[in-house]
């Protein structure tokens, strides 16, 4: 224990010697939460729509009203095309340049056909380049025209669907953006912190001193990890507190669960970093590897942006090796649902398993290098 303490102190001095880096370290994540928390949202506002109304009748106007009264749409009517172009050609150009997301054509015989009891078709052209947006726009359109029809045919209350959003009645997207951000930032900070600790000593040659010391390999690895636990834990608490205060996220769960899981998650990140650090031959290899391993997988494979349930079993397996996946489940469950310890047993065990595995790999690797070094 005493010997580990010596390494811990040495490493702690090393960290505190550079207060500027430390300040940067505490400041950057807070700025990230602030900017991204406000900026990321999947909501679709302002579906820019151009309507070309050839019918110019009472019926067509009430259909257009259906769209323009809906807040998600921003509707403009077009009567004439630009220059010698027909209105359709101009609208097509606007779609191409990205000015509008869709245009709708109401045919001349719209009103007369409907009054005769015949079917009238309206043309809808949607920009599909962002497939998600196109899908949503299509669904909204269908819903609005159905609303129009049911009023017309007096079928209004035939179709009753009510929706209710639990835990998050106002549908604030910060509730799912913030936990994701916290998970991504926390794992990256901790992994990046330790990724340099061994590789730096390799680069400066001071690793030889550690090699010839009486310390055992696992003691060195542990001693190099422990001081960062404090930094990362303070950092984590800062991020969580900031997210809570700035975005007024109600916290219904047990605070202890959150703290314990943050600690476990941080240790996972730190041990991942130190494993990379012992395997890499220089600081830049260590940093690059850490960035590649943590950044995109934590964003795309953790369920932060893309739902994991849809993935095929093979891809799903990749998400199981991303620690952020587990922490995200815990923090999402805790924040609003107030779930308890028993809901998160498996996540906790897996994260602890990861940490132990990483630390063992790092120790074994380190002692191998030590033997080779001697």
């Amino acid at each position: 224990m005493k010997r580990i303490k010596a390494v811990v102190l040495k490493e702690a001095f090393h960290i505190l010697r550079d207060p500027k880096s430390l300040a940067i370290l505490f400041l950057l994540p807070v700025v990230m939460i602030l900017v991204l928390g406000y900026s990321l949202s999947f909501d679709l506002k302002n579906i820019e729509t151009v309507v070309i109304d050839y019918s110019q009748s009472e019926l067509s106007r009430s259909l257009i009203q259906k769209f323009s009264h809906n807040q998600t749409y921003s509707v403009t009517q077009m009567v004439k095309g630009e220059g010698s172009q027909s209105p359709e050609e101009t609208a097509e150009e606007m779609l191409k340049s990205g000015e509008i997301k869709q245009f709708i054509i109401i045919p001349q015989d719209f009103s007369s056909r409907i009054k005769k009891g015949l079917i009238s078709h309206i043309g809808v052209v949607i920009d599909g380049s962002d497939s998600n947006i196109a899908n949503i726009v299509h669904q909204y359109n269908e819903m609005l025209t159905f609303g129009f029809i049911s009023e017309l045919r007096d079928l209004k209350d035939i179709f009753q669907i009510s929706t209710k959003l639990y835990f998050n009645p106002e549908n604030k997207s910060v509730f799912y953006i913030i936990p994701g951000l916290v998970a991504v930032i926390m794992i990256m900070i901790s992994a990046l912190l330790t990724s340099l600790s061994v590789s730096r000593e390799k680069e400066t040659g001071s690793i030889e001193l550690l090699f010839i010391s009486p310390l055992q390999s696992h003691e060195i690895v542990l001693g190099k990890t422990v001081p960062y636990v404090f930094i990362a834990l303070i950092e984590g608490a800062l991020i969580l507190a900031f997210a809570r205060v700035m975005f007024r996220i109600p916290f219904r769960g047990n605070l202890w669960i959150l703290l314990v899981f943050s600690l476990v998650y941080i240790v996972t990140g730190l041990s991942l970093g130190i494993t990379i650090s012992t395997m890499a031959s220089s600081q830049k290899v260590a940093m690059m590897a850490t960035l590649l391993i943590t950044l995109l997988p934590s964003i795309l494979l953790s369920g932060f942006i893309f739902p994991l349930d849809s993935l095929s079993p093979i891809l799903r397996a990749f998400s199981y090796i991303v620690p952020a996946t587990y922490f995200l489940e815990v923090i999402r469950g805790l924040i609003l649902k107030g779930a308890g310890w028993k809901h998160f047993a498996s996540q906790g065990l897996i994260l602890i398993g990861f940490s132990v595995l990483f630390l063992v790999i790092a120790s074994v690797k380190f002692s191998q290098q030590r033997k080779a070094g001697k």
């Binding site: 380049s129 669907i161 964003i299 809901h343």
Partner: protein, 367 residues
């Protein structure tokens, strides 16, 4: 010609370790493929639960359709009300659909069950999609049923989807992921290029050589620009071959845009490198910038949703323009008139960052 030697030195320094080759070329390709499949996957198999409190044929048929749809993974079908909050707490279902008998007595044969959809608001993204699917299934059922009973619908939408008719997200996300990886790799390596020489005290060796500061600066930036372009080429090739994407626009313009973007990225990274005093600081600054660049690029969430206080961050983000140009070229096959503005703004940003970073570098050197 002197600059060539520095160029060579830098290239050797980046590539002399075998692990570096793996990190620069193999890892990003693997990531492109795996992440490409992730972003391609349509949202389906959403875990849901069905509570059918109605005895009617209609309710039975609707439940049947939901049960057989690949969009859902129906965990349970029950006929009595349950404790819905605890279902969400356990996380077994993201959405619950409840069918009850309707009370439209006057309508005789048009009496459809009342539908209520409960969504887990924590993962509102997924549960919202599930609600949309439920809505679609129920509406489709009722509409066909009404038509069967002899009521014609007077209005139909004929929808045409332009540019990406099958709505495959890989067409858009695939090249985007290549751009993200390019940003990560080129920014990181360049951000430590100068600070490393400072930390190892080899900067003085460079400075007393006959190289001018501008030559040193260029010699630092060019090798990574070259590697970046090769990387981009390989990435695009992988996306095209693995995911079978068809490039509609001009490949030359794409390379031009990528080159301008790389220069913006590299000069920004060199700016970080001159400002920082240790590799660790450079690492944290480039990490911070990467995350902001990536998430504010418009690839994952619409740029219009960024509040005006932070909008400028997206406006000066070169990655945002590259993503837009990629979309124009890959999907729409538009010619240069449609993205000349984006190209010009990106070039403007590049010039500004480049001069800032050169200015800073010269000041650092003269000290």
């Amino acid at each position: 010609m002197r600059i060539f030697y520095l160029f060579k030195k830098e290239l050797i320094e980046i590539l002399r370790q075998k692990e570096m080759l793996v990190l620069i070329f193999v890892a990003p390709i693997l990531q492109t493929i795996v992440l490409g499949y992730v972003v391609t996957t349509d949202v389906k198999n959403i875990p849901v639960q069905v509570v059918n409190l109605s005895q009617t044929q209609d309710a039975y048929r609707i439940v049947n359709r939901i049960n057989h749809s690949s969009l859902f993974d129906v965990k349970k079908i029950s006929h009595i009300p349950e404790d819905y909050i605890s279902i969400f707490k356990k996380g077994t279902a993201k959405a619950i659909i409840i069918l009850r008998d309707g009370f439209n007595e006057g309508r005789r044969n048009l009496n459809y069950p009342e539908v209520q959809i409960l969504m887990d608001g924590i993962d509102a993204n997924t549960s919202g999609i599930a609600a949309g699917y439920f809505n679609g299934i129920v509406r489709h059922y009722i509409m066909t049923d009404i038509q069967k009973k002899g009521i014609e619908f007077p209005l139909k939408n004929k929808t045409v989807i332009r540019f990406n008719p099958n709505l495959e997200s890989i067409n858009y996300m695939g090249p985007g992921i290549v751009a993200l990886l390019l940003t990560i790799i080129s920014m990181f390596f360049t951000s430590i290029a100068i600070v490393r020489e400072k930390e190892q005290q080899t900067m003085d060796t460079l400075l007393i050589s006959r190289l001018t500061p501008i030559e040193i600066y260029t010699g630092k930036a060019l090798p990574m620009a070259l590697l970046g372009l090769i990387e981009m080429g390989i990435g695009i090739l992988v996306v095209v071959l693995v995911f079978g994407i068809f490039i509609r626009g001009n490949l030359g313009y794409l390379l031009l845009a990528a080159a301008i973007f790389l220069f913006a990225n590299l000069s920004y990274a060199l700016l970080i490198s001159t400002l920082c005093t240790s590799q660790q600081q450079a690492l944290f600054f480039s990490w911070f910038s990467m995350v902001l660049f990536l998430l504010l690029s418009g690839l994952f969430t619409p740029v219009e949703n960024i509040p005006s206080a932070f909008r400028w961050l997206a406006d000066i983000n070169p990655l945002r323009y590259l993503i837009r140009i990629i979309r124009e070229i890959f999907l729409k096959g538009n010619d240069i008139t449609y993205f000349i503005n984006d190209l010009l703004i990106m070039s403007g940003i590049t010039v500004v960052i480049l001069s800032l970073s050169l200015f800073n570098f010269k000041r650092m050197v003269s000290k």
